[in-house]
């Protein structure tokens, strides 16, 4: 008898469906490729997952309160170059890194202020910002990649040493999930998205909530960009971009965050990124070539979402029978 509430409790965990789908994907690729279950391969998957989940952690908050940041992919690209710019001008590396993060935060603040003060929809605001930043990157970098400074203890912590990029991702995901589900700010973010008029009537400073979430997202995007570039060994103007932003948002949505706002989960976004990483890496491992790759990737994502949604429906049906 006592197992039933436990089962229901588990079923009601929002992230259950995406977890099951991710496990299914893992099983599939284990079956089809001998090299899937190796530490090296896990590391490759982790390298896909880290940038997407870090950016997604912020995008989840924004999506929940009814906004989106399309420029995150270019803050990702810009941050390492800002860091090198400061470094080349004589700042110690740790300060240059900090400076780059601060610049990223400022971008988010600008996004948020344009959105709230000028009332321009975030889609347009951040789209404009995206192009602006893309141009800025090309100008600063002269469109050439820059090598990562070698033998830097600071950079070792930020992507240089093995697994650091992924560890940062885990840390970010944990912290943001706690912020979302265990702080007043998280509740206010949900209220701002779920009922902005009502939230404002209750005295919640919805504009401030949005601006803070924009700032969080772009800060995380800058951090992610520095981490990935450092790991790869090269800060490249081709890193990041719309594709990275898109996969981050996709991770969030696949993981259970509603595109139209009101509810979401950072842990789910991590699982969404994990699913995408497994699929990307798995098909590469299986030898799928470029043209077919996109077909297969698209089919896999669709299949995963169908499964995800079906599981959510089952969960809701079982859950609601127990309610009022």
């Amino acid at each position: 008898m006592s197992s039933r509430p436990l089962l229901l409790g588990v079923l009601q965990v929002k992230e259950l469906s995406i977890l099951l789908v991710t496990i299914a994907a893992g099983i599939y690729f284990t079956a089809t490729s001998g090299a899937f279950n190796s530490t090296d391969n896990y590391q490759t998957i982790a390298q896909y997952v880290a940038p997407w989940s870090i950016i997604a952690a912020g995008q989840v908050m924004l999506l929940i309160c009814g906004e989106i940041d399309l420029s995150a992919g270019f803050v990702f690209t810009l941050a390492p170059f800002m860091m090198m710019q400061f470094f080349v001008n004589g700042w110690p590396l740790w300060l240059a890194l900090l400076g780059a993060i601060v610049v990223s935060t400022l971008v988010g603040l600008v996004n948020g202020l344009i959105r709230t003060v000028l009332a321009i929809p975030s889609f347009i605001t951040t789209l404009g910002m995206a192009f602006l930043l893309q141009g800025l990157v090309l100008i600063i970098s002269n469109a050439r990649p820059v090598g990562v400074p070698k033998d830097s203890a600071v950079l070792d912590v930020f992507g240089g040493a093995h697994w650091t990029e992924f560890l940062w991702a885990l840390g970010v995901v944990v912290v943001m999930q706690v912020v979302l589900s265990a702080t007043r700010f998280g509740i206010h973010t949900q209220a701002t998205g779920g009922n902005p008029v009502g939230a404002a009537e209750s005295g919640i400073p919805i504009n401030r909530v949005k601006v803070v979430n924009f700032a969080i997202t772009s800060t995380l995007a800058g951090l992610a960009g520095i981490l990935q570039g450092t790991r790869v060994g090269s800060y490249d103007p081709t890193n990041g971009g719309f594709t990275t932003m898109f996969f981050a948002v996709a991770s969030a949505v696949i993981g259970g965050t509603a595109l139209l706002g009101g509810s979401g989960t950072v842990a789910g976004a991590f699982l969404g990124a994990l699913l995408l990483g497994i699929v990307f890496d798995g098909f590469n491992l299986n030898g799928v070539s470029a043209n077919a790759f996109n077909v297969v990737l698209g089919a896999a994502i669709l299949g995963a979402m169908v499964l995800n949604v079906s599981l959510i429906v089952v969960r809701k049906r079982l859950g609601s029978r127990e309610r009022i």
């Binding site: 090296d40 490759t44 390298q47 050439r144 790869v232 060994g233 799928v288």
Partner: protein, 365 residues
């Protein structure tokens, strides 16, 4: 059973059929895609002993760009010739270096038998190359080379030299004024050296000429817009050139659209359809063939021989070509639609009656 419930159960049945059918179709599609590589499990090739089905991986920076269609034909032909499965073609669609690095890493983890990579970044592939070599996986660079890296060899065009020769050629026609030069990925290892070559050659041969570079972006569709905008903003230019395939095709279109054929200098690289048509019509003075087919074909051949001989046959550095294609010799490029240039025609192409004279040979001391 009333008509209504009959309809419902029919609908339900159709729904299940639909779901089942889609699932079946999806799995078939999946199987088809992933089994392309299992097609051949190795075999015998002419005089060579039988080999296991060596699995080579090509890592590319613009996997879906039409420039590389002949490269993929080349690698497929070589594989078929040698009795090994067709190599995997992966990497990034839009020049993303991190993605290419991940693809290379996956190839290493998956214990590929050989890797061919376009080295579009100086730093990102060094450690990976060392790791691959350390695990006994040969690595060859093709199409783009980089300093300070460790591929066994480079198979492709000498980028700086090709730009330099192009600059010399431009100087024959344009001696003063401004020229536009479109470049798809400024700073990219596979195109920037060409631009540098042009600039340096012009400094020597025609110092009165100013080079205005135009960033056209890596996507073919956008390149035309960028070149058009650049020209519209500067109609006094003496020439419109480009250093990559897509931008060159865009040049040809801009010149044709604005009726500038013969009035200003134009030329570029590679053999996209618009480019070849442009050379034929006179819109472009020349284009440069870097033989993408050979970049694929020879890379596979070199990896195969290297493995077969246990490193005795070391892959040689290979300049796949710097052929100026002009109105005189453009014929077969335009009409044959040969597989060697990305078309469907697999037939033997007829030889011309007389062969045009190549440039005079130059010995390197």
């Amino acid at each position: 059973m009333t008509a209504e419930t009959g309809a419902t159960s029919r609908r339900t049945a159709l729904k299940f059929l639909g779901m089942g059918g889609t699932t079946a179709a999806a799995s078939a599609l999946l199987a088809a895609c992933t089994s392309v590589q299992d097609a051949q499990n190795g075999g015998k090739s002419g005089p060579f002993p039988g080999t296991p089905g060596w699995r080579f991986v090509f890592v590319n920076h613009v996997t879906t760009n039409s420039f590389f269609v002949p490269t993929r034909s080349g690698l497929a032909d070589a594989a078929a010739l040698l009795g090994i499965p067709e190599p995997q073609w992966t990497g990034s669609e839009n020049g993303n270096v991190a993605q290419m690095a991940s693809a290379m890493e996956t190839a290493i983890n998956g214990k590929a038998d050989g890797i061919a990579i376009a080295l579009t970044d100086d730093n990102a592939f060094i450690d990976l190359t060392k790791r691959a070599l350390g695990q006994g996986i040969p690595v060859i660079a093709y199409n783009a080379g980089a300093a300070g890296n460790f591929p066994l060899t480079y198979v492709g065009q000498d980028l700086y030299l090709s730009g330099f020769r192009m600059g010399q050629r431009i100087a024959q026609k344009v001696t003063t004024g401004e020229i536009l030069v479109g470049i798809a990925q400024p700073g990219g290892n596979n195109v920037q050296p060409r631009l540098d070559g042009i600039t340096d050659a012009l400094k020597q041969a025609a110092p009165g000429v100013q080079v205005q570079s135009v960033n056209t972006g890596a996507e073919q569709a956008g390149e035309l817009n960028a070149m058009t905008a650049a020209y519209t903003g500067n109609t006094a230019v003496k020439g419109i050139y480009a250093v990559d395939a897509g931008s060159t095709a865009a040049c040809a279109k801009v010149i044709t659209d604005h009726g500038l054929s013969g009035k200003i200098g134009a030329g570029g690289f590679d053999l996209l359809d618009d480019t070849v048509a442009g050379v034929k019509s006179g819109a472009l003075d020349f284009t440069i063939d870097q033989s993408p087919y050979l970049q694929g074909f020879l890379s596979v051949l070199y990896l195969y021989l290297y493995r077969l001989s246990g490193t005795l046959i070391a892959p040689p550095a290979t300049d796949t070509g710097l052929t100026f294609v002009t109105k005189e010799n453009v014929g077969p490029y335009a009409t044959a639609h040969s597989r060697f240039e990305g078309g469907d025609n697999k037939d033997v192409i007829a030889m011309p009656g007389a062969i045009p004279l190549p440039p005079a040979s130059v010995l390197s001391r």
